[in-house]
Amino acid sequence: MGGHVYRMERDRARFRDIVRGRLRQDLRKYLSTSELLGRQGKQTISIPIPQVELPRFRYGDNSGEGVGQGPGEEGDQMDGDGAEGAGSAGEQPGKHILEVEVDLAELAEMLGRELALPNIQPRGSRQLHTEGGRYTGIRTQGPDSLRHFRRTYRRALKRTIASGEWDPKDPRVVPMRDDQRFRSRRTHPEPESSAVIFHMMDVSGSMGREQKDIVRIKAFWIDTWLRSQYKNIEVVYIVHDAVAKVVDQEAFFHLRESGGTKISSAYELCLKQIQERYRPENWNIYPFHYSDGDNWSARDTARCVDLLREEILPCANQFCYGQVKSAYGSGQFKKDLDHALGHDEQVITTAIHSREGIAESIRAFLAEGR
């Protein structure tokens, strides 16, 4: 029966190609919506796409009449809404949303192509080579301790049946030497590179819902891209108003805070994390900070610049600051950063006015390939 499935795999692959084509076509749209957030699994992301339907002559909405079955007086509202009558049952495909699983790696590749992003060159000295020694191979010789029982048994069983010796009443299978299969170690050197991403977000009162959404969408895509570049990646989420704290992903994407803004608190916390857990010798470090550009005081801004220049920049691959325009934000922080550190190629700052600017801002952050 495997034949059926084999044929189906081709049609299915074709369908997925079509879906990917759509996704690629519409990637810009996804770059500015929060639709994909929270949909990623470990390796894949499920993307909702409107079902690809061929147009047909169909009845429209004004015919909201039908025959049903069940209790109820005339004038009663029916339970279970959206009920369909007999004529339409099964005939109207309706507006199905199909969820399609796409590899995160593939999504990253689409992103890379759409925004023309270069691959990141991990800093040389940190590149460790490890022998990937996993027993994933199979061979015909080996020590008994590595014998692959299932493969061996299966071969023996096949041979027994094929030779007509199989007796269901006495289902004995005796493996011969030729049936034996052993696990073998496959080795290939792999660059062992790790990276840590710090997403720092200003959640003070002036950051509205829309601003936070923009930040979240950006963070999602940056994660997606960097994940495709590093084998081992960790993400640290930091939110701050006047004080900073580390939160989990869930909280980062849903938290609503309010209060004043002291940006240095976040940078200090980030630095503390680097020193305690992510030593620059072992990690590629990517701090991202997003805010609406308001800070508590010029003195705190000066403190931020100091922290960046003296402590963070020397150990990070690059530092990115994304300023999201809000109704209240002055946008002063970006000016200050540009003034103090604008000459430093490790520092990238962008200003986003609306969702349409997200793609460009992501490109600016990642275009250096650092």
């Binding site: 169909r58 025959v67 029916m78 009558g85 004529g87």
Partner: protein, 478 residues
């Protein structure tokens, strides 16, 4: 004889027992061949419409994806899959319990009997498995010759038109006497003769452009119009290369093969359920299986609040007819869903089964029970089921405005079309016809003419539509 090369001995035996019991009560069918499949294979076969040999298309991949997701999440599970063919093929799911296998087998016998004896299935191709294989081979050869993308694009267009057929045509044609049929040439020949009569051999087609692949150009003859068989009309008259015509022909043949299943969904499921219930409770079940069977049967015939379940409605219709003293075998032979319901539904039936008419409340968006009068219920039911549940679209003219355009008429029966999608459908039609296409319909009582040249769609108000669309039941030669 029921065979089953791939079945375990116990199921083979069970198939023989079930078949004997079915024949005992008077069911009659072609050979029934059971095949055993894994759940995911069943989903794959179902996505191919029951034919694993079917031509390649991404659409089957999409259907499979949906079925498989439904299965993985435990939302849906396919129990039975029967193919109208001689022999009749049916699939059993490996993971089912013995009781479920018995139920499915008995149910399948009901379908198999229905396929063989219901008059609407009479004209269907009985070697469809083979036929589908031929179709697939043809389409693969087109892919080799013209490339996957080109063929796929046209196949999608053709599939989009597969609803534009006349569900009553096969039966009407098969009812013509043998003698008559012998004297009437093929449609193509007839059309060619008409053409020569009308125009003589010096006349050129009124439409511009050569028709590269056909030996003799045909012009729509008055015989062909008006027609609901738009697809058939295109096969004969569209200016297309041979391979595209062949694809239209294939899509049309498959559409006509499936159409009786749409016309008899309620009857067919009702008949199969009636007999599985009868057979299983009259000796096929082990006493220990009764409770599980009752549970399973109740699940299949369950009615969600305010919904109609064809299994439930169908089985109750047959039980009601039986109680009235009707000859069930005669009923299953001569009716389709519409005529069957017209024949069986009466006041008592509507009451016992708690039928009602609902209407969506425009303000709340909720459905509200509006009527429990059995006559209204019956009328509503028949209206919904007529024409297989699809809008009735007739091709009226093939040279509209003297510009070689197609003119379609929507025979409006109180339900408006979805206009934007109709416009898209017209576009695909215009691409095949390579000329303008128009549709007359009504929107909330106002006449509309939708026109397209294949690129732009325009909608204008016209009083002409009121005249031609508004009529009651259209005359139906049968």
């Amino acid at each position: 004889m029921a065979t089953g090369g791939h079945l375990p001995a116990e199921l083979r035996r069970q198939a023989r027992v079930t078949e004997a019991a079915a024949r005992e009560v008077g069911l009659d069918f072609f050979d029934v061949v059971f095949e055993m499949l894994d759940a995911s294979d069943v989903n794959a076969v179902a996505a191919y419409g029951g034919f694993p040999v079917r031509y390649p298309s991404w659409r089957f991949g999409m259907d499979y994806e949906r079925l498989q997701k439904g299965y993985d999440y435990g939302l849906s599970k396919i129990y039975e899959l029967v193919i109208n063919n001689d022999p009749t093929y049916a699939y059993l799911v490996r993971s089912n319990s013995m009781m479920e296998q018995k139920l499915v087998m008995a149910h399948v016998m009901g379908h198999a009997d229905f396929f063989k004896h219901n008059v609407w299935f009479g004209p269907t191709q009985r070697s469809m498995v083979e036929q589908m294989g031929h179709h697939a081979a043809r389409i693969r050869s087109f892919v080799e010759a013209h490339g996957q993308d080109t063929v796929e694009r046209f196949l999608d267009i053709a599939l989009g038109l597969d609803g534009l057929i006349d569900p009553y045509l096969p039966l009407r044609e098969s009812r013509r006497s043998e003698r008559q049929r012998a004297t009437i040439q093929s449609r193509a020949e007839r059309a060619r003769l008409d053409f020569e009569q009308h125009w003589g051999d010096s006349a050129a087609s009124t439409r511009p452009g050569p028709r590269p692949s056909r030996s003799a150009p045909t012009t729509p003859s008055s015989d062909d119009l008006p027609t609901f068989d738009v697809l058939g009309f295109l096969v004969e008259h569209a200016r297309l290369p041979d391979w595209k015509v062949e694809i239209l022909r294939i899509v049309r043949a498959e559409a006509y093969y499936f159409v009786p299943q749409r016309l008899t969904k309620i009857m067919n499921e009702g008949w199969a359920s009636y007999w599985h219930s009868h057979l299983l409770t009259h000796g096929l079940l082990d006493p220990s299986e009764i409770v599980d069977f009752a549970d399973c049967h109740a699940g299949a015939t369950a009615v969600a609040p305010g919904q109609l379940n064809p299994y439930k409605l169908g089985i109750e219709l047959f039980r009601h007819a039986h109680a009235r003293g009707d000859d069930l075998f005669q009923l299953r032979r001569v009716h389709n869903d519409v005529s069957f319901i017209d024949h069986v539904v009466d006041e008592e039936f509507a009451q016992t089964n708690q039928l009602f008419v609902y209407r969506r409340n425009a303000r709340t968006g909720k459905n509200v029970v509006v009527d429990r009068d059995w006559v209204t219920i019956k009328e509503q039911l028949l209206r919904e089921l007529s024409w297989g549940g699809s809008p009735r679209i007739q091709l009226a003219e093939a040279d509209a405005d003297g510009e070689g355009g197609l003119l379609l008429v929507h025979q409006h029966e109180g339900r408006d079309l979805k206009l934007d999608e109709a416009g898209e459908q017209l576009k695909t039609l215009a691409q095949v016809w390579e000329g303008p296409v128009h549709l007359l319909t009504l929107e909330e009582g106002v006449g509309r003419r939708i026109s397209t040249d294949g690129h732009e769609v325009s909608v204008i108000e016209t009083t002409r539509a009121q005249d031609v669309c508004g009529g009651e039941e259209s005359p139906q030669a049968s």
